[in-house]
Symmetry: D3
Subunit: 163 residues, 6 copies
């Protein structure tokens, strides 16, 4: 029986339009998509804490009418997160090459820990594929215009940050 | 509604254990998997013609009891093959890096032609990921032992070839 | 004194929208741009012979009003082509990674032969960067729609080919 | 009209012989080259603060008689730096592959923010291409001999640092 | 005369099964292998300090009966470490691509400093090649099971850590 | 006991200065080095047949006084070649990235067939690392000067070829 639920994990600090594109694409392929936001805190260098990142994604998901998407905090190993929910499919976006290498390592490591879980890689639109969260943070730091790289919800919160 | 059918296209000249691993993994994630064998002929340099490649894969698929897998010849553009069958998911195995680059180009090209079709990348087992069809052909050419790289059905037919 | 002329060499079999994008970008940076079309013939596997490829590019260059662009056949080593014209800048588009590796080798080899010539790499638009001439040839072979990947002039000639 | 000025941005912490090679090559192709030194401070982990890095590069540029090169601090977004000076060409050296990937992302991001600015990539000499600023810092930390990797001006200041 | 001793340097924070596989392979090719453990301290972000890392590797080396392997701390430049011992061969494991790039830079830098020392790259088993020390640290941090990625000695000490 | 003999296999069509650099480096590390020249024939697209390639390498090896190097034709699987000679070390030069990927596949495939044979990768000088046999063939085809890329013996024979 075809898998009905997928998990899309990430740090999303902040969510870029590339991440959002993957969310929309994955939501179209599964009955239910869980976006899992890694619980790194601002103490450990994150720009936004996990609760804010979850809130921003929820706002955009709701705004786009993606009713089959939920957003949760990821504060365990990914394989444990999936097992507790009975999910067997992990979705990852692949942006560029070194990306894929890290993804390759993580997916094989996760498979060794949980052989029943499969990682599937998906490409965001090529018009969004090169945007990285770290670039967005850098542009925001210099007061640059981030509107072409993030959603309005994220842009608004970036503007409120004091650097 | 979750996608129920996926297409796994390739040349499979011949199918390696890595390819077969992807078939088994994909068959576990979808209600139905169509393996699409590119119709390159021996006149154009293929070791086996498409009919033989289809037959070998069918034999192994049956032997493994994969009842939800069918094997067909692909003699059109992949996007047309998928559209005629109403399939929106293409599965590709990613072995290594240059692989992924070619895959990236093809997937974006296919998306431009058929935006509703999504390509998902999946990793074969790391113990099989480095095996390539061209390596298998080279080993067979020198009369080497291919049993660790292909199924018994493929190995038998390789042994019958005259180089 | 700033260099005024650049050479953009390639096979262009056929010219893709990605190639054309590089031509337009390079033409905006230099007083004069020479597109140098490698003289591979259809006997050696080219889809179009060099004269046809030159003609197609000239048609598109004229159509776009790029008055500072000329198109010539390249039938010597690139470094000799540049030296005869007193050109010190070679422009190459970089699409993806393996591309860059080949480019790296060629540029260093050319530099060893002609230290005064510098190769500069430029990126086509990310919306065109993944299109390859070989993909275009494959789509044309299957009678697919190439209009999103090549100019109308190229598309017309592709349609006239018999495969 | 051919572009006459180019900007070569970087962190240069410290400038390596590879960086210096790119400066000399770019200075030969344009009427004027502006080396833009990112204003990261020692508080944020830089080995030398920006003022010292600017001073060292100026010393070497003067020593090499590169009269068309100026060195400035970069304390805004690169696209703003270029726009204020009316510069449309950014030069970046490409050392190795992962380099290029980061470069690719930055160049496309900058193009989205400032479509009129073009990034051109140039290769340093292959004899210098593998030297990285972080390697130089590590060698200096252990009291090793950095003379084959940096200019005498940089070497002198590295020797004065206390680790 | 064939080289009899090799040095295998690394951080080993902690040693993974991939590292241990390289140790065993290298020990089979040389009369004597020196594992050189970089002296990064926990103050600088290491999980284990160098003395503990040395102790763990020694325990595993003894347990495996590798009598020709010694384990030492590396607190100088690698080329100085080798020269003092008269060793001309450095062994490095290559896991994946970006790995190799860093390795390439280091090996060429070391060669410039000590032309008589040659770096040889070796592949760990493909079943272990994707495991990284940073992944192991992350799994340990979440209390996950590291037994498939490290030796029992390392696993025991990981379990004793408080995160 | 340290391995005393190594095999360095390749096509060498023709041997470049990069190949020759690897031969000299490997000859310095082992008591005996066997250069194994793949027996591809001019019928299958080689520029020189295997006997000529063997002769050229022998001439250069003798000229350089490398008394511990022998040159032989490789007309079986590499693992069989090594086993018949009791050799457990295969040396391969790594030039660039895509190179390494192919090397990675071959080495793992060979290891599966002959676990006792280890492949070690070595870097040629960075001043020679970008030269490829196919580039040399292309330069020779256009009558260009190959003297910076190959030995005098190879250059002389290239000059005698009729293209």
């Amino acid at each position: 029986m075809a898998e009905k639920t997928a998990v899309y994990p990430g740090t999303f600090d902040p969510m870029t339009l590339g991440h959002f594109d993957v969310i929309k694409r994955a939501a179209a392929l599964y009955d239910r998509l869980v976006v899992a936001v890694a619980a790194t805190s601002t103490k450990n260098g994150a720009l936004f804490d996990a609760a804010h990142r979850v809130a921003m994604i929820r706002e955009d998901v709701a705004g786009a009418g993606l009713e089959n998407v939920t957003v949760e905090t990821l504060d365990t190993l990914l394989v444990d997160f999936c097992r507790r929910r009975g999910v067997r499919v992990v979705i990852r976006g692949v942006r560029v090459y070194s990306d894929f290498e890290y993804e390759f390592q993580m997916a094989l490591t996760n498979r060794r820990m949980a052989p029943e879980i499969e990682t599937l890689f998906m490409m965001p639109s090529e018009q969004l594929a090169y945007v990285t969260a770290s670039t967005v943070r850098e542009i925001a730091r210099y007061g640059g215009d981030t509107s072409r790289f993030v959603t309005p919800a994220v842009q608004r919160r970036l503007a409120e940050l004091k650097f």
